[in-house]
Each structure stands twice: as C-alpha cells, then as structure tokens.
Subunit: 222 residues, 2 copies
DNA sequence: ACCTGAACACCGTTCAAGT
DNA sequence: ACCTGAACACCGTTCAAGT
C-alpha cells in the first residue's frame, strides 16, 4: 500500500510478495493451514528467507490481515444516512470474515494495524458528523465490532455443527423445549430455534444495536 | 456429570479423569499449549490411550469446554428481575472467558454440547417468563452471546497490544485524531480512545443491548 | 548482507505389535 | 479389548555455514 516495493536482488521478492503469497495460500487452503513452509515453497524460496521480513509467523499473519482488511473495503460511501452507513459497514465486515472464517480465531491475538485503524477512524468520523458525541461514537464502534465478531464466531460454530452430525441435529432444540413446559409450545420452540440457527447471524444482533443507537441519538437531541 | 465413571481396569482412568487432567493443563499452560502428549504424560499414560475416549484432540477439547462451562456457573438466581439476570449472566460468561482467554479462538470451532444448551435453556426460559416472546428471547440470547464473545475477543487483542509495545501505543489514537479536524478536539479524542481501550469491554456493548431489550419489551406491552 | 540446509523440539495421528 | 512404541508427516524456529 504505502509503496514498500524494495525488491530483493537475489530472490526478486519484496515484502508484499510474501503477503500476496500468504493470501493465496489462505484463499486456497485456509488461514489455519498456512505455514511458513508452504508460503515459502510457493515462492521457491527457503522458509528461512521470510524471517528477514517477518520475524515470526504472527508478523506474517498480521501483515496479511492488514491486506485482507484493505481489500474487504468495508467503508461505505460517505453520503449515506448513518443508520444505513453503520449497517453496510457491519455487513461488509461480517461478509468478508464469513468468506474467510479462518481469520476469526486470530482476531483476538493479532496486533491491530493501520488498516484496522483507518476503519475505526472512518466510523467515528461518520457518527460525530451525524451528531453523536465522541464517547458515543467510540462506544458504538466497539459494540459494532463485538456484534460482528460474535456473529461470525456463532456462524462458524453452527457450520461446524451442521457438517458434523447429519440427522441428529434435533437434539439441541428438544432439550430446550423440554424445560419450557406445555406440550403445544414445545414443537413451536424447536422450529423457532432451528430457524434462528439457520438465519444469518448478523441479522440478529445488528438491528438491536442500531435501535439502541437511534434512541440514544434521539435522547441527546431532545 | 451424568455419571460416566467407568474406571478402566488397566490404567485406572475414567473419561472424566482425562478431562480433569486437560483442565489442569489448561489452567497451568493455557488452552493453546494443550496437547495430547502433555495431558497423557500428566497421567503417566501413553498418548494413544486417550484415543479410545477421544477420537480426536477436538473431542477432548469439546469435553473440556463442557466442563469449563459447567464450572463457570453462569446462570444467575431465578428471582432476579430480568435486566439484572441478563446482566449477571453476561458478566459471568465474560469473566469466565477472560480468566481463560485461550478458549476464545476455539468457541467458533468446537461443537456445542449439553452444558451450552443448558445455558441457552435457562436464558430463554427466564425471558419467556418475563413476558418476552420466544422469538424475542432467542434473538436476545444470540445477541448476548455475540456481545460476550466479541467483548472477550477485543479484550484479548488489546491485551496483546499492550504487552507488545510499551511506550508506542499513542500511534493508534493520533491517527484517529488526525482525520478528525480541529486541534483542540484531537487530544481529547486520543484520551477518550485510550480510556475505551482500557475499559472493561463488556461495559461497552452490554448496556446498549439491555437498553434495546427494554424498549422492545415496552413496545410489546403497550 | 542475505539466503540455505540441517537440526531441534515439538505437534496430531496411524498402525502393527504386544498383553 | 485395550495399551504401547515406533513411525509418519507435519509444525515454528535456531544456527552455523555458505555466497
């Protein structure tokens, strides 16, 4: 991005070439299967050559996540009203992470970089322009990230459940239904829970968050 | 829990003994450093002995997470008003996970078990008793999980950042402040953001969620 | 200076062999 | 039946040796 295209004379590889290769590996086999060795072999270099650019596998991953965020392009156009702007931003993040679920486990352990900051920046600026206080805007941003990350986590665990057990997935609903009295309610709850598990997770938390923000803004204005 | 204490005649070990040992290892070195080999060596058994009880490392982890949830004891007393009940449940989950941050990466990839279902059950029952619809209660539960998981994720990534760079952590605020005009605002924003990063993450998303639930219930009642 | 190959200390898991 | 040891195919990372 900020032009670090210094090509090494012996290998012909820049730092960004490694990131590119890492993203290729991730796209093909997933973040979890990425290794120093398979990134290096894709570039026909010794694994150790990378350690000059990335002292640790985590550094390579952090750099790759940065590029991933940049390419996800989650910042909506500036002219949208804030409710839509926030919704689009959240869905953009959610969809990007769903495309590459392997990132989710790493979100808590990798350093935040310039691209993550740029998104924070855009979000806070937008809400401040719309009349929210800085404190409210930051709170909204963190809450949004929480909902997005949590939604992706849930989605990926539901995915794991679905692919594991084929026909045995009525275990979960029936248990919940059991404790909730009266026979006629029970089947209804089962169906309801099943539908919740199948639903796009971002549709669950995000509307609640936006509703809360709306009423917060109204309070501040009166 | 449901009494599977069949002690093996040769090793003297039950399934739950392995889970116990796994939890010990987790407490001492963290979930990420748990391996079949170190659990087995703690019990003076060959690593392969475990594969009879747990066909896969993930199965051992799933069983350990079950026990972890059971011991976290996140279900509050039934007589609390729902706002407090929900708040206590959320904080219980948040604190348990913060004590053992290593679980967070796994939450999305491990199968949900009986203990996780028991918590869902308790939550939905409580809200239904308080006048929410089943659909609302399930939505609230999923949203709560999202906030808790997201909050723990954020907390653990902030922790990583803080321990990495000692004095260089004004990079992040200054960048955000940069794009947000006027010199006198900038320093204020920096301070504000820093304080947000230091704050307990659950305090950020949870109040918004509870506010949204409150107004939802009021709407339904009028 | 920068890259390499060999090596170290680990993994999860398979499998034939033991009792 | 159930446990074992050796082995396979991987890891991240270190380090002395090459150019």
């Amino acid at each position: 991005m900020h032009g670090d295209c210094q090509v090494n004379s012996r290998t012909g590889l820049s730092r960004s070439a490694y990131v590119e290769a890492a993203l290729d590996v991730i796209a093909q086999v997933g973040v979890d299967k990425l290794s120093m060795r398979n990134v290096a072999s894709r570039l026909n270099v010794s694994p150790m050559a990378m350690y000059k650019h990335f002292p640790t596998k985590d550094d390579l991953l952090a750099a790759s996540l940065e590029e991933f965020i940049l390419r996800a392009d989650v910042v909506p156009p500036a002219d949208l009203p804030w409710e839509q702007w926030v919704e689009r931003a959240a869905r953009g993040m959610y969809e990007a992470l769903c495309r590459e679920l392997g990132w989710v486990p790493l979100l808590g352990s990798l350093r935040v970089g310039a691209q993550a900051i740029a998104v924070t920046d855009a979000f806070v600026s937008k809400l401040v322009e719309e009349g929210f206080s800085i404190e409210q805007s930051l709170r909204a941003y963190f809450a949004l990230i929480q909902v997005v990350v949590g939604a992706v986590c849930l989605r990926s665990s539901i995915g794991a459940r679905a692919s594991d057990q084929a026909g045995a997935d009525d275990k979960l609903p029936s248990s919940v239904a059991g404790r909730l009295q009266t026979k006629d309610n029970a089947r209804y709850i089962s169906l309801e829970l099943e539908s919740f598990l199948r639903r796009d997770q971002i549709d669950i938390g995000l509307p609640l968050l936006i509703a809360a923000l709306k009423s917060q803004l109204e309070e501040a204005r009166t």
